[in-house]
Symmetry: C2
Subunit: 375 residues, 2 copies
């Protein structure tokens, strides 16, 4: 199989990831932070070790900044809902995934915030600056678009936000594990990412790295292991936002994924993915019956449509010859509108560390077979 | 090791649970509901199969009622926050875990609800009935106390709630997998449980079985795989409450845990756990320096304190001889207050399917060694 759906979830996982899952119910099978016996303490230490690995991978100021959530969606819901206060004005880009847009739509429907969408076609920082109001309290940006790999200037956006004292949330779902991200040079207050995409872990865990976070409220609340007598969650990070039992197996799997990435080398991942993407892009562009959206991007997914054959049909034909791609809107209707796909969306190819260079040629040949070029 | 901390998380897991985790990143390693290729469809089918297994295990009206969450805490946050409307009066028992109490404390602090705590010492249904107001819209009860195994008459409470048109949420964290639960005889609108305790799955997944649920609002929002163009989550269950990528490995592990339970037989689990618990209880009661709280309960954990040695110290000494128990408040300060433990809480023993009958005598001998009876 040629798996080009790494933006949905990376596949296959490094063998160490499976081993970590099993350790999470074996030697680390106790409930971390919920007991003083050796099995619980071992689990707590293993989880803390992964927290350190995450902090180290992203140059976070401390492991305590790393909040484990159930996924990127929960991380973004956490960051967005705890950042806002009533009457706040919020800016989001025209590339955002529904995991960013829907929490904001909801807050707006409830009358808590106003939001505005800034365009990313031109000078993004300037577009944001023009839209700032006295009550603008939050800017959200994806780092890399999940449909075309469009790269937002998050460092510059972050610098503007820091200068103006505005919270900045970055959705790194499309970049974490594919591009270097250092919180020492990226001034953001919350960096959110899933464990199971570029970071090579499994679904069931995500991260919100909170840096100088002024949480306006609690998020999920419940057992915290500490301060049990209090009516509120503990005020310290990460406990404040980690109610209930942590998903040890998925956390350990994420740690294993990060160690694999570190060992493999992020520079090598980037170079390999970029080369494969470029070759695929070239092949798609050579066909006059296909339209490739934003072909000049260097990272992330490739998005295309055919002159007449619908995306779902193309994805189905590719599946029949053993190629996994994803058709439709990719939970990012804003981004689809921005790049101008037709109703029904487009076909997305997303490469990953598990792909082999030869798969570009193989894919292009299979595509020609199931979708012969129309003249 | 003698593992008597099954109320924190069950240990060890059946071998099939580890195998299911690996299948969740192998043959079912696609993103379920996020693509039409075979790997994604296989994952979606495997997840649906687990939904059916859960529905079948609890006699739920349909697999669509089964909402997968990140755990029982998220399930209870979901049920409680989507059940209430402004001005509502809510009743919770004096046995509730912080996963129930803290969401309600928070809603009360925000001025959205009033809550009242009903006592469980006497005729519970009557105590609830006396507290009903015109605006009472929600009653919450744990099925089995997570500290002493106290059993609440949830069927009768549910009947009252149904009669009065009040939503009823059951926290089954302490009972699921230990006692039979059938939604055909238990009239509740939401049954919440973790995957990793009695159901023998792993941390990272929980369930909220919603039955005749009138959700007043959305919960976590984000990508839904379907209806991507909408600003809101899909209205149908389970999609409405399942934003973002589902934790396939943990879901498959839960399915494996349930199949193990079904094969082993819940009646046998109950009989074995009851026998072991009774023998432990008898041994604890035979010592005059220990106080056992509610020794007449037949299920769930055993809770005790020593005349002079603090719970943490006892748990530490037991750990030194290879016995895992949990000391403190067990995230249930309400329940501790109800049963009257001193400051610092108590020591909890919680047995499970993984324990051997001989561990009762072994434990009691070890306890006598590390904590000789004082006269």
């Amino acid at each position: 199989m040629i798996y080009f759906d790494n933006a949905a979830t990376s596949y296959p996982k490094p063998p160490a990831v499976g081993e970590a899952l099993l350790r999470g119910i074996g030697e680390y099978g106790g409930n971390p932070g919920r007991g003083g016996h050796r099995l619980s303490l071992a689990a707590a230490e293993a989880v803390y070790d992964c927290r350190c690995t995450v902090a180290d991978f992203f140059d976070a100021p401390s492991p305590e900044c790393v909040v484990f959530t159930s996924g990127a969606t929960a991380a973004l819901n956490l960051a967005i809902t705890t950042a806002v206060r009533r009457g706040m004005h919020v800016l989001l880009s025209d590339r955002e995934h529904n995991a960013v847009a829907r929490p904001l739509y909801r807050l707006a429907r409830e009358g808590i915030i106003d939001y505005e969408i800034y365009p990313t076609g031109g000078d993004v920082v300037r577009e944001i600056e023009r839209r700032l109001r006295r009550n603008t309290g939050l800017v959200v940006a994806c780092h890399v678009s999940n449909i075309t790999g469009f790269l937002l200037p998050v460092e510059a956006i972050g610098a503007l936000c820091r200068e103006r004292g505005i919270a900045f949330v970055v959705d790194a779902a499309g970049s974490a594990g594919h591009l270097p991200i250092s919180l020492s040079s990226l001034p953001c207050n919350a960096l959110c990412a899933p464990g199971h995409k570029g970071l090579l872990g499994v679904p069931g865990v995500g991260i919100a790295i909170l840096n100088g976070w002024e949480g306006k409220r609690e998020f999920l609340v419940g057992g915290s292991g500490v301060d049990s007598l209090s009516h509120t969650m503990p005020s310290a990070l990460p406990e404040r936002y980690e109610a209930g039992t942590l998903p040890t197996p998925a956390i350990l799997a994420l740690g294993a994924g990060l160690r694999h990435l570190r060992h493999y080398g992020l520079a090598r991942v980037m170079a390999e993915e970029e080369r494969l993407r470029a070759r695929l892009c070239e092949g798609l562009l050579s066909r006059r019956d296909l339209r490739v959206y934003e072909p000049d991007n260097r990272h992330g997914p490739l998005l295309f449509t055919h002159a007449t054959v619908p995306p779902e049909e193309i994805a189905g034909r590719l599946d029949n010859v053993g190629v996994a791609v994803r058709a439709g809107y990719h939970c990012a209707p804003l981004a689809h509108r921005t790049v101008g796909t037709p109703p029904g969306g487009a076909v997305r190819l997303s490469v990953g560390i598990g792909n082999h260079p030869r798969e570009a040629e193989e894919f292009l040949a299979l595509l020609s077979r199931v979708l012969p070029e129309t003249q």
